[in-house]
């Protein structure tokens, strides 16, 4: 039914099948829409956030998707600036993933702040000493860049490509894509870092506070490193999922292997620095505040297992797996390692947000616990539904994977 919109020379499922595929994601979006309406109409009391948990599920989700979406800028940097030609086969997918992650995060943030209509105050009355201002500016600009990187792909839709103006415009954009990729890299470097800086500068909260270099706490650099270590893995996972669902090979192995190898090295360097930072914190910041490392892990469910998980199970182990070419080439090990890596980064964000707030600073204050409400889950799930929908639509109607035809010859 929608065959004029499909790319040339590739097979796509029937329209009705695609329609049924979109239904669960539309349901998630509907759940999210209802949640957003309730939060905007009745206020943030619809959530389980409190004066203790000022940041909660949404902020964890925001930071997690932004870290995972770092594959977009990093792949763009490797493709257009460094010139790794094999990554051209995966850059479109990475850009779409990045666009989904950043636009979803912006949407979530619009609901998260108490006065969404005043959101523009971040820009107009900016406090340049605040890390969150740095984050907001860079994310907004980077979302613009991602949109610009996405447009040429959209304009290559079979029907849109026929329009001369759009055809030439798309190609003109692609001609100077390196400029946008470079700007995107610069912006991403800063906002990934500032997201880490946000927690490192909480000097009055010994759990999160860190030493640093000039105005940048060590978490600034660690967050950048962890994002570029996990981003490519997330791109690999999304690509593999797309291949599984579409039941065809979409990306040649050399692109995947290159991403996995780069991820391996970055993750290894990150783990070394992360362990060093943790030790520096345990023997520096923590005793200066009159505390012992174990004091932070006494209450509630947040015990030492968090540290073991983050550093060993979801950090060192995937780094080791990805370092071995034999393991990287084995589908099962590759996907396991990527999953562990991405989970580790999400866990890292979770620890910095939720555990920081749960642990009381005043000695006579108590530990508080937190579980999200269905409205909070609704907004978070809506981002996932939006992601599946947008990626599915892009895969169906746009030539996302340049090697798709070669890897899947259509027999007439």
């Amino acid at each position: 039914m929608d065959s004029p919109l499909l790319p040339e020379g590739v097979k796509r499922c029937p329209t009705t099948t695609f329609f049924f595929w979109t239904l669960p994601w539309l349901a998630l979006l509907a759940w999210g829409g209802l949640s957003a309406f309730l939060c905007l109409w009745k206020g943030l009391n619809q959530t389980n956030m409190s004066n203790v948990f000022a940041f909660a599920l949404w902020i964890v989700f925001d930071l997690a998707v932004i870290a995972l979406g770092a594959g977009a800028f990093f792949t763009g940097f490797l493709t257009y600036i460094i010139g790794k030609g094999e990554l051209k086969n995966v850059i479109n997918a990475a850009v779409i993933i990045g666009f989904i992650c950043y636009s979803g995060a912006m949407g979530m943030l619009g609901i998260d702040i108490g006065q969404p209509i005043r959101g523009w105050f971040i820009f107009w009355h900016a406090n340049i000493h605040s890390m969150l201002v740095e984050v907001s500016f860079c994310i907004t600009c980077y979302l613009m860049v991602l949109g610009i990187e996405f447009i040429p792909l959209i304009l290559r839709n079979r029907q849109l490509d026929k329009i001369r103006e759009l055809h030439i415009f798309g190609h003109s954009l692609h001609e100077i894509m390196a400029v946008f990729a470079a700007t995107g890299t610069f912006l991403s470097f800063f906002h990934q870092g500032s997201l880490g800086g946000m927690f490192g500068v909480l000097y009055a909260r010994p759990f999160a506070a860190r030493e640093g270099f000039y105005i940048w706490p060590w978490t600034f650099f660690l967050f950048i490193l962890s994002a570029i270590a996990a981003g490519p893995c997330f791109t690999i996972l999304c690509t593999k999922l797309a291949e599984k669902i579409s039941r065809k090979k979409l990306v040649p192995d050399n692109a995947i292997q290159l991403l996995a190898k780069i991820s391996a090295w970055l993750l290894s360097i990150y783990m070394v620095l992360k362990i060093a930072d943790t030790l520096g914190w345990i023997y520096g910041v923590v005793p200066r505040a009159g505390l012992k490392f174990i004091d932070f892990y006494r209450d509630g469910p947040y015990g030492i297992w968090l540290v073991v998980c983050e550093i060993v199970i979801f950090g060192i182990i995937p780094a080791i797996i990805l370092m071995f070419p034999k393991a990287r080439q084995h589908q099962g090990w590759l996907i396991t390692a990527c999953l562990l890596n991405c989970t580790g980064i999400v866990l890292n964000r979770f620890v910095f947000i939720i555990v920081t707030l749960a642990i009381p600073v005043m000695p006579f204050d108590r530990f508080w616990s937190y579980l999200p409400t269905w409205q909070e889950w609704g907004i978070a799930m809506a981002v996932i539904g939006y992601g599946f929908l947008l990626f599915s639509a892009a895969y169906r109607y746009l030539p996302v994977f340049p090697q798709e035809r070669e890897l899947n010859p259509v027999t007439e």
Binding site: K88, N89, F123, W124, H125, A126, I128, H129, E134, F137, C141, M144, V145, I148, R156, R164, E165, H167, I168, F169, H171, S172, L173, H174, E175, I176, V179, F180, T183, F186, L187, P399, P402, Q403
Partner: protein, 64 residues
């Protein structure tokens, strides 16, 4: 946000922060304007030849 707003101070922190921001926005803006102008200039060319021209960068991205 701008040098004309109330909070603006002429010190190095403001200059560096907003300087970098404006540079980034300028690069993005100029890039877009360049593409618009390039498209505008290339349009009459296609009409003359009656077919999409051999765009040089096409050869570089032969995958699509």
């Amino acid at each position: 946000m701008t040098p004309f707003s109330f909070e603006w101070q002429w010190n190095v922190e403001y200059l560096v922060f907003f300087g970098l921001l404006y540079i980034a926005l300028t690069i993005i803006g100029c890039g877009l304007i360049y593409c618009f102008i390039k498209t505008w200039l290339n349009l009459p060319l296609t009409e003359e030849h009656g077919a999409p021209p051999e765009i040089s960068y096409r050869a570089r991205y032969s995958e699509y």
